[in-house]
């Protein structure tokens, strides 16, 4: 069903799946273009979680999905994280235990939020996201970019600076600058399980077979991987629930 939640910047839509009671998995999608490439995949996982009796919510975040907030007005991942927190708070208010599930750069959004546990799939840190965005911008321009590429050259005055268009997304220059200092929360801040593809050599609690759908130039799905991840999330929630 389509629900909504309120945060200081307005009201956002939130897809909900599964039972109306018990623990809830609140999901943070990857940012920007990767969200388009993985949305069908993530929704497939949430339907599979519902079949396993676990509720989930997929909130639209400011500047993402169907949000009415223009992306270029969002100054940092903290603002998206604040909205994510309010979506989580709604379930806390109902006395339900909440778990954060994040895909790729979505892992940047749950770090300020009180959760019973976190589950990250192929988490991308802010530095790597920034490199990705710069590389995409360079590819579209066909030329190398300078160090402070997000600002007009030369930078004559202190802001406001025009947003930067990257693969159809207008991103605030300061958002890009703020990515330089963002970092996902580590395990010291509560139970965290990290799952990665077996083609990714970085450390993880589990490596699983599958393709990096977020890199595909066209959106795609992978039912076998979705099934495997839904089972892993369900087992993780059951473990945390004790």
């Amino acid at each position: 069903m389509i629900d909504h939640y309120d945060w200081p910047g307005g009201r956002e839509a939130m897809l909900r799946f599964g039972p109306a009671d018990g623990p809830v998995v609140v999901v943070a999608m990857p940012l920007f273009e990767e969200a388009n490439r993985t949305r069908a995949f993530v929704v497939t996982i949430l339907r599979m979680l519902a079949e396993r009796g676990i509720a989930s919510a997929l909130p639209d975040l400011p500047g993402q999905g169907e949000s009415l907030v223009p992306l270029e007005t969002v100054p940092s991942t903290d603002e998206m994280g604040l909205a994510f927190e309010r979506a989580v708070d709604g379930f806390w208010g109902q006395g339900r235990k909440t778990y954060g599930v994040a895909f790729r750069s979505g892992a940047l959004l749950d770090r300020l939020v009180a959760l019973h546990g976190r589950w990250h799939f192929a988490p991308q840190n802010a530095g790597d996201l920034l490199r990705d965005l710069k590389r995409i911008k360079q590819a579209s321009l066909g030329q190398p970019l300078p160090e402070f590429w997000q600002y007009p050259d030369p930078v004559l005055v202190d802001g406001p600076h025009p947003p930067v268009e990257i693969a159809g997304n207008l991103i605030a220059a300061d958002f890009l600058t703020n990515l330089k200092v963002d970092t996902p929360l580590d395990t010291e801040d509560g139970p965290l399980r990290t799952v990665r593809l077996d083609t990714d050599p970085k450390a993880a609690d589990r490596h699983v077979p599958g393709a990096a759908l977020w890199r595909r130039t066209e959106p795609d799905n992978d039912l076998a991987l979705a099934e495997l991840l839904a089972e892993d999330i369900a087992a993780w929630v059951r473990t945390c629930e004790g």
Partner: protein, 90 residues
């Protein structure tokens, strides 16, 4: 442990092209030293290049600097695989 054998790196690059460009296993299996890529492979546009390079970085645990990316490196499967293998060995 990072892969450092050239054949192993070649297969990783093959897998990246298959996964990122969404082309078939059979097509990528036929890629050899001389197979032309950028400008010849329609799926490999400039945006896809960004995805291919980043995925190669992830799988090999390497960093590719902006000034290392040029037409020569992306010209053929052989040149891309050689470049990736040289980075993986460092």
């Amino acid at each position: 442990m990072l892969p450092d054998g050239t054949l192993e790196v070649e297969n990783i690059v093959r897998g990246v092209l298959r996964d990122v460009l969404g082309i078939s296993e059979a097509r990528t299996a036929a890629f050899d030293e001389e197979t032309l890529l950028f400008g010849a492979l329609p799926e490999l546009d400039s945006l896809a290049v960004a995805g291919v390079l980043t995925e190669i970085e992830d799988r090999l645990g390497i960093l590719i600097e902006d000034d290392e990316v040029d037409g020569e490196m992306l010209e053929s499967f052989g040149s891309l695989a050689r470049f990736a293998a040289s980075k993986a060995r460092r």
